[in-house]
Amino acid sequence: MSIIKTFDVVIIGAGGAGLRAAVEIPKEYSCAVLSKVFPPRSHTGTAQGGVCAALGNMEEDSPENHVFDTIKGSDYLGDQDKIEIMCYDAVRAIIELEHMGLPFSRNAEGKIAQRKFGGHTKPVDPNEPFGKRVPVDRACYSADRTGHVMLQTLYENCIKNSVNFFSEYFVTEIIIENGICKGVVAFDISTGEIIIFHSKVVMVATGGYGRVYRITSNAHVGTGDGTALIYNAGLPLEDMEFYQFHPTGLWRLGILVSEAARGEGGILKNKDGERFMARYAPSVMDLAPRDMVSRAIITEIREGRGIKGSDGTDYVFLDVSHLGKKIIDEKLPEITGFARTYLGVEPTKEPIPIQPTAHYAMGGIPTNENCEVFLNETGDIVKGLYAAGECACVSVHGANRLGTNSLLDLVVFGRRGGKAINKFLQSVELSGINRDAADKSKYAMQNILEKSGNEKVYAIRTELQESMMDFCGIFRNENDLKKMVDKIKELKEKYKNISVQDKGKIFNTDLVEALELDNLISNAESTVYGALNRKESRGAHDREDFPARDDVNWLKHTFISKNGGQEPVIKYKPVTITKYQPMERKY
C-alpha cells in the first residue's frame, strides 16, 4: 500500500513549459509541480540567444514573416495552423514576459531589444514574399542569458502564486487506464518513498533527451523521461526521427555556443580561414538554419577542411574576435566565458573551436493546439493528459526548429495548456484509482536494487551515446541505422543484467541513473526506428541513401508506438497545410 496524495493537477517538470502552465492554474485548484531537480536548475535556464516575436522594435517585421520562416525552417513538416497560432501569439507572449518582470536588453527607445538569428528573415520587397529575403532583428534577448532569466522570471511568478513544488521527485509511471489519465507514480529522491499522485489532470513537461548522444548541449537530466514514460505506456510518439544538432557546440564538450554569436556577426571558418557558409547558403550564410549549418560543418570536416584537435577529433572555428571587446562583453559574456573557462581560448583575440552538438528533439508526445495528448494518429484524445515544451510535438518545429522558437513554444503552449486544463477541470470528477497503482514501479525499483548482474549503467549508457552518435547522428543511412537497431536490442538485453552499488533509500542517484538509462534506451529506440523507416531527407533527418526530400510519399508525420516485445508499429498523420505549399528549401 502506498501513500496517495490527491491534486486537481499534476505537472511533471519545472522548466519553462511546466512553470508557465503552473502560473495559469488558478488558486481554487490544487496543483503539484514535480521536478527531479529544484525548478531553477531546469534546462530551460541554459538557453542563451533569444526568443523570437515580430515586435518590429528594430526594423519593420510581421508575424506572417515569422510564420513563413518557421514553416520553411521546418522543411514543410510543421503543421501550418499550429505555426500560425504560435507566431501570431508570440508578440503577446513576449510582452507578457516583460510584464511578469523579465529583464530584457533594451533598444534606444527603451523597448525590448532584438537581434538576428538563424533562419529568421523578411522579404526585401514586402509585396514579394517569395522573393529575396534577408535576416531580420526578431530575437528578443537579455544579453546571452535569455533562458536563464526566463526560467527565473517564471519561477518567481510561481513563488508569487504559491505554487506547490515537489522538488527532487522522480516520476516512474504515468497512470493511464482506458484512455483516461489518473495521475502519476513518483518517488521522493531524498527519502526513497514512493507516492501515488492521484489527479484529474497530468501535464508532461519533461524536456528533451539529448543525453542519448555523446556530444550534447543537454544537461545530465536531459534524459527524456516524459517521452519514454508515454512510449512505455503504449501511447504513440510523433516524428522522433527529427533530432536537431546545433552547429556550434564547444569542441569536445558540446556546451552550447549560442547562434546569437553569429546573429551579432560571428563567422564560421574552416582550416583555410574560409567563410565556408558562403558556399552552402549564399543569401544568409552563417545565419542559415541549424540543420544546414551542421551538415555544412560535417561536410567541411569530411572533405579535409576541419582542424584536427589534440584528441584526434575535428572541429571548425567560430570567429567573433572582429566584433570587438565591447560587443562581446555586453552581448555575449556568458558564451565567451565558456570558451575561456573550458578551452582556454580568448574569444576577443582568437577563434573558438566548435563542433555540432545534439541539441533539441523536434519530435515528442503528439498534442493538439491545446496541449491535449493524442491517443492515436486519428485524433482521439487521452482524457486528462497534456504535454508541452520540448517533450511535446504540436508540431510547430516540423523537421527542423528555428533558433529561439523553443523558448517561444514553452510560453505559448505552456499557457495554452494551462488554460485548457482550467476549462477541463470545470466539468471533470476525480476518477477512481487502484491502491496498488504504484506496485509496478515499486517492483521495478526493488528489482534494480536487488540485481547483482555484471553490467554497469555507465558502460551501457556510454555505448548507447557513442553508437547513436556514429549511427543515428547528422548523416544517416540504412546500414548504420540497422546497426543501431541491433545495438539497442543488445543494450536492452544488457540492461536486464545491471546492478547498482547504492542499495540505500536516501538520495540514491545510482538508482536514478539506472531509471534514466531505461528512459534513454526507449527514446533511442523510437528515434532510430523512425529514422530507419523514413526514406527521404528532410530537415534534420538526412539520409545519405535517400538524399532528396520526397513530398509525394513522406509529407506526413510519423506516429510510432511500442508493440510489446515486437518491432514498434509506425502509422502516419497528414501534415496540415494552410497557405504555403512546399517549395524547394534554399537560403
Binding site: V37, F38, P40, R41, S42, H43, G45, T46, I94, I95, E98, H99, M100, G101, P103, F104, S105, R106, N107, A108, E109, G110, K111, I112, A113, S142, A143, R145, H148, V149, Q152, E156, N157, I159, K160, S190, A219, H220, V221, R252, L253, I255, E330, E334, F338, T341, Y342, K456, V457, Y458, V500, Q501, D502, G504, K505, I506, F507, N508, T509, D510
Partner: protein, 236 residues
C-alpha cells in the same frame, strides 16, 4: 596523469558521522572539470558517491561544493587550475545540513530566498499592448544581479551565516537588489522593510567571502551596499 582526491562522505543510513575517504585516480586529464572527476569515481569506483549536478557548465547551480576550502561549482573548475601537490579536498557546502555525501539540504536557503518577495511587484497596470519602457542603462543595472544561479555558494561561505542561522544571507539579499533597483518595480518599500533588520541587510559585515566565492563573479557586496545606502537615504 594521476591525482588524489579526498572526499567527505556521509550516508545517514550507515554512518554515525561524516568521514574522509581517499581515492586515487590513475588516469585523468588536466583539462577535466572537477565534475568529470566525481563522475569517474561514481561510475567506475564507487556508485554510492552522491552529489547533485545537471548542466555541467555553470548555469543550473546544482553542483556547489567546497573544494580545497573554497565554495565552487564542480563543473566550472578544471583540474589544471587546482593545486595537485596535495589531494583535492572536496566537502559539501558548509552551514547546511548534509543529506548524503556532497548533497546538502537547501530548504532553508530557498525559504530565505522567498522571504524577500523575489518577484516584480507592480501597482500601476502595465500598458495593454506593449512592453513597459526601460532604458538599456537601467536594464543593465539589473543584469549582474540577475546572473545569480542560486547555487548557494555565497550564503554558505558567509561567516555571518555561520554564526546566525536567521540571517537571510547574500543570495536572498542580492535577489532583493534585483527588484528594488528595477525601475519597473513598485514594491521597494515592502522589500526594504523586510530586509531592514538585524537578521537582514545589517547582518552583512562586508567580509567579502561572497564575492570571492561567487562562481558567476558577481560583486555581491557592492549590490548589498547599494541596498544599505537606499535604506539609509529612505530613513533620512
Amino acid at each position: 596523469m594521476q591525482i588524489q582526491v579526498r572526499i567527505l562522505r556521509y550516508n545517514p543510513e550507515k554512518d554515525s558521522k561524516p568521514f574522509y575517504q581517499d581515492f586515487t585516480l590513475p588516469d585523468v586529464s588536466p583539462d577535466w572539470r572537477l565534475l568529470d572527476v566525481l563522475h569517474e569515481i561514481k561510475w567506475k569506483y564507487d556508485g554510492t558517491l552522491t552529489f547533485r549536478r545537471s548542466c555541467a557548465h555553470g548555469i543550473c547551480g546544482s553542483d556547489g561544493m567546497k573544494v580545497n576550502g573554497k565554495n565552487r561549482l564542480a563543473c566550472s573548475i578544471l583540474l589544471k587550475d587546482l593545486n595537485m601537490n596535495n589531494p583535492i579536498l572536496i566537502e559539501p557546502l558548509p552551514a547546511m545540513p548534509i543529506i548524503k555525501d556532497l548533497v546538502v539540504d537547501m530548504t532553508g536557503f530557498f525559504q530565505k530566498y522567498e522571504v524577500v518577495k523575489p518577484y516584480l511587484i507592480t501597482k500601476t497596470p502595465p500598458p495593454s499592448d506593449h512592453e513597459r519602457l526601460q532604458s538599456n542603462e537601467d536594464a543593465e543595472k539589473l543584469f549582474e544581479s540577475a546572473k545569480c544561479i542560486l547555487c548557494g555558494c555565497c550564503t554558505s561561505s558567509c561567516p555571518s551565516t555561520w554564526t546566525n542561522e536567521n540571517y537571510i544571507g547574500p543570495a536572498a539579499l542580492l535577489k532583493a537588489y534585483r527588484f528594488v533597483f528595477d525601475t519597473r518595480d513598485e514594491g521597494a518599500d515592502e522589500r526594504l522593510d523586510i530586509i531592514d533588520n538585524p537578521d537582514g541587510i545589517w547582518r552583512c559585515h562586508t567580509i567579502f567571502n561572497c564575492i570571492e566565492t561567487c562562481p558567476k563573479e558577481i560583486n555581491i557586496t557592492w549590490h548589498l551596499s547599494q541596498l544599505k545606502k537606499r535604506i539609509s537615504t529612505r530613513e533620512m
